[in-house]
């Protein structure tokens, strides 16, 4: 199991991947990707009980579903650097004939992807379906999912959230990327959702906060607590308090870099703040 420093080094390299991927094609979503870099690294390197090889059914291993598919840069980088496909393939992000579509898809057979995402709000239902099948198969491994906070404005989420508690889906740990931003501004300005903790609790979920959502140790500690609460008849929601654009100073604390690529100068600045650790692709 990698130590904190190794996870931090990998996170820094993932940040470089994200910046270089979106810069090359002058499109993509760096803000949310950067904010979730620590979470993805911790999840794939430490938290999930997963196999090194990929098969769609994923029996007897933990599975992960990304609901907010637009943060594909961080997903692709961490999948590649976790051994699912060659890191050189990151160079094809968003290009024609690439398996790395702007939003994740199973259609091109990219290892690590089990469901297309992009149209928001569908991830809870899909993750719940996979969790239900694990229960039917007597498979005691867990399902993890990640959702944007703004994404919770989609109604389908709450159908799934209601189903999960009613059916005691206690093999599911759903994390909300609580960065408080969406495309048009802050989530409070666009459509205020009030207390997500109160909402999830009212729907019958167990809720945990990870206040330092960009701190590797805090994530490991919080997710270990979440895992310890599985199997007790209730689904688990983790509110991960992150900073959008984390690790690149001019991208932090703003919605401005939700779906915008850095120019040459901005890329150089961003990379200078994240020195190469494991080698660029």
């Amino acid at each position: 199991m990698p130590n904190t420093q190794q996870l931090q080094d990998l996170t820094t390299q993932v940040r470089r991947d994200i910046l270089r991927m979106v810069h090359k094609v002058n499109s993509g979503h760096p803000g949310g990707s950067l904010g979730c870099a620590e979470f993805f690294v911790a999840l794939y390197q430490n938290i999930m009980d997963r196999k090194d090889t990929f098969d769609m059914d994923g029996k007897d291993e933990d599975l992960f579903f990304l609901s907010n598919g637009h943060i594909s840069p961080v997903f692709y980088s961490v999948l590649a650097r976790s051994g699912y496909f060659p890191v050189e393939e990151l160079n094809t992000f968003r290009l024609i004939n690439s398996r790395l579509q702007g939003h994740p898809t199973t259609h091109e057979g990219l290892p690590g992807i089990r469901m297309a995402s992009g149209s928001l709000g569908q991830g809870f239902s899909v993750a719940l379906g996979a969790a239900q099948t694990k229960k039917l198969n007597g498979d005691t491994n867990l399902i993890y999912s990640l959702h944007g906070d703004g994404e919770l404005q989609e109604g389908q989420n709450w159908e799934g959230i209601m189903y999960a508690a009613a059916n005691k889906m206690d093999n599911l740990i759903s994390t909300i990327d609580l960065n408080g931003q969406q495309i048009d501004g802050s989530t409070d300005d666009v459509l205020a959702m009030g207390s997500l903790r109160a909402k999830f609790e009212a729907f019958g979920w167990t809720v945990l906060d990870i206040e330092k959502g960009n701190d590797i140790d805090a994530i490991l500690e919080g997710m270990a607590k979440a895992k310890a609460l599985t199997g007790q008849g209730k689904p688990i929601c983790v509110l991960l308090h992150t900073v959008m654009g984390n690790g690149v100073d001019f991208m932090m604390h703003t919605h401005a870099w939700h779906g915008k690529a850095p120019n040459d100068e901005q890329l150089a600045t961003g990379l200078s703040q994240n020195a190469e650790t494991l080698g660029d692709y």
Binding site: R114, L128, Q132, T133, E159
Partner: protein, 182 residues
């Protein structure tokens, strides 16, 4: 010219229910989901015979489609059941992304299709169901004409393609035998 004989009037939705129960007995990976319309879709027998493989999702069709898509991961073959209007138009985007584009073997079972729910009025008369589904790559659309066709069409559902079965509650002439090669 091939000739047909009407052997009696039966509703196609009962053919669906019987076929689903039969398939559930022969294939333990078959699971069924329903959005609060068990009686209308004649899914009672499946629920009674395979309670652990039956999922009541409530009046939440979008969630039902996503659940079904996710359930295929790990080897299940889900059949979703609700009226055609709520099986297609209401959840088109969920079918498009989570089933068709994601290549998931889900059977979308749509009842009371087209004008067949006439007395319920236009909100329940979807005329776009077959058209919407036919536009999706990989989607097989099966519209059966009688009880036996509906019951036996699960032969096709053993393939890896998603499909739509548009069947109805009104009784229609029974023209095909169970051994017919449709």
């Amino acid at each position: 010219m091939k000739t047909y004989t009407n052997t009696g009037n039966k509703d196609t939705r009962s053919g669906f229910g019987a076929g689903l129960t039969e398939l559930g007995q022969t294939n333990e990976n078959v699971v069924a989901l329903c959005a609060d319309l068990i009686g209308s879709l004649k899914m009672d027998d499946f629920k009674k015979n395979h309670p652990e493989r039956f999922f009541q999702v409530g009046i939440a069709e979008a969630n039902m489609i996503g659940l079904a898509a996710g359930m295929t991961i790990g080897g299940k073959i889900p059949f979703t059941g609700t009226f055609a209007n709520f099986s297609t138009g209401r959840v088109y985007d969920q079918i498009r992304q989570s089933i068709a584009y994601s290549d998931k073997n889900v059977k979308i079972c749509a009842s009371h299709a087209g004008l067949t729910l006439g007395e319920d009025g236009a909100t329940h008369q979807i005329l776009e169901d077959i058209g919407l589904m036919k536009m999706l790559p990989g989607m097989t659309v099966i519209n059966t004409c009688d009880y036996n066709q509906t019951s036996c069409n699960y032969r096709h559902c053993k393939t890896s393609w998603t499909c739509l079965l548009a069947f109805w509650k009104t009784k229609s002439s029974q023209l095909y035998s169970r051994r017919s090669n449709f």
